[in-house]
């Protein structure tokens, strides 16, 4: 295999599922390129990635705030009304002396999901205004470290499991935050499926190499 220089390796991609090497080819707008060996989506092409990314990240952030500000579920049991919010669930672990579990849950369902959307919003805003070549790099590195540790989707399924366990003992009402959480999880899934790390790095490269050229001319 012959290459012009090391940067030419950017035209190649290794499938994250089966590790087959592929050469990047130009694809149509909104189309996706799949791995020939395992069918995994390698990358997509979206000429308005910055705008879409920014819009999705900010909507996610708003949904996250909603999901944390109101009751998730209200139940009526033996004439008493009880409700939970995400912060209250975490807090009650601490007040019951389950510090380690509380700590883990705080990161998995609160701090990391929030950080991901905050960083994404800032990142796309910076890319849009073509600023911060180094900080965007650091942000992308942090993102790829914390993404596997964000578990909002699993928490949502856990709420459903917990409620099924209570059916028959209590009257259950869904709160505003429950619907916001569903929206947040769907958006999160959509973003991880459509905005791959690879595409954002390539976007960053396009943004800043263009900048260089503009400066020189």
């Amino acid at each position: 295999m012959k290459l012009e220089n090391e940067d030419a390796l950017d035209d190649y991609i290794i499938c994250r599922r089966c590790h087959t090497l592929h050469k990047e080819i130009a694809i149509k707008e909104r189309a996706k390129a799949c791995c020939t060996r395992c069918g995994n989506v390698l990358y997509r092409y979206d000429s308005q990635l910055t705008e879409h990314g920014l819009a999705l990240s900010i909507s996610g952030l708003i949904l996250f705030i909603l999901a944390n500000s109101f009751p998730l579920v209200k139940i009526e049991i033996l004439g008493h009304e009880q409700f939970i919010t995400i912060p209250k669930t975490i807090w009650s672990l601490f007040t019951n002396d389950f510090y380690f579990v509380g700590f883990i849950c705080a990161f998995l369902i609160f701090i990391f999901p929030m950080m991901i959307f905050l960083i994404n919003s800032l990142l796309f805003a910076l890319l849009r205004s073509k600023k911060g070549e180094n900080i965007t790099k650091e942000m992308l590195v942090i993102l790829s470290h914390i993404m596997p540790w964000s578990m909002s989707d699993i928490f949502l399924v856990s709420i459903l499991v917990a409620l099924v366990k209570l059916v028959g003992y209590a009257q259950i009402n869904m709160g505003v935050s429950f619907w916001a959480l569903i929206g947040f999880v769907l958006l999160d899934l959509y973003m991880t499926r459509t905005l791959h790390t690879y595409e954002i790095w390539m976007l960053r490269k396009r943004v800043f190499t263009q900048e260089d050229r503009d400066d020189r001319s």
Binding site: D7, I14, K88, V101, L140, V141
Partner: protein, 199 residues
């Protein structure tokens, strides 16, 4: 012009950039993360995390996960006990979900990681037929789902605390989260680059 062998191309686990493998401790050309941790302790670190995870998994199954205090009397149930109770009450789907999340996934993940860690050091005869990258990818995808039971307990404990009825988390919740935490660390510490000759 430079000439590279395709076998010598590796993927950065942080930014996914394709890099030329130039030996141990080289940094990724794009994001600067360490690419190839070729030292001896690479598998040692992963083994240490994995063994901690497996040790924590024992009390996670022996101690109660959930304690219900009803009118002064406390009843507690372990993970497996909880699954059996759910099954007996006819909640088959939930029983299956908890069974898979708390028993099948952790054990499967231990076995896959043990297999991967052993096979990178001592290749077994039939190894060629198994795509180890896919196995590793599988552990990354299914691993986090084992947290379901811990979240369920946290939700129930936060939701049910009346004057006469309390639900509190049991010791197993801590042991189980420790186990999941260390399994995830073990998987992350495992260098994908150690799986060779599979392309």
């Amino acid at each position: 012009m430079i000439e590279v062998d395709e076998e010598n191309l590796i993927r950065c686990h942080v930014c996914e950039a394709v890099n030329i493998d130039r030996g141990p401790n080289k940094k990724c050309r794009r994001c600067g993360s360490i690419l190839y941790r070729g030292q001896k302790y690479t598998t040692h670190k992963s083994w240490a995390y994995l063994i901690t995870a497996m040790i924590a998994y024992i009390p996670a199954n022996l101690y109660p996960m959930l304690v219900t205090q009803q009118f002064g009397a406390a009843t507690s149930s372990t993970i497996l006990g909880g699954v059996v109770t759910l099954w007996e009450h006819g909640s088959y789907p939930i029983a299956l979900v908890i069974f898979f999340a708390s028993i099948v996934i952790p054990i499967l993940k231990f076995l896959i990681l043990i297999y991967l860690l052993v096979s990178v050091k001592y290749p077994l005869g039939r190894d060629k037929r198994v795509n180890k990258y896919k196995l590793y990818y599988l552990t990354e995808i299914i691993g986090p789902w084992s947290m379901i039971d811990v979240f369920v307990v946290a939700i129930l404990a936060a939701l049910i605390h009346l004057a006469n009825i309390h639900i509190i988390a049991g010791t197993a919740a801590t042991a189980f989260s420790l186990s999941v935490f260390f399994t995830l660390l073990a998987a992350h510490a495992f260098d994908e680059r150690l799986i060779e000759g599979e392309r």
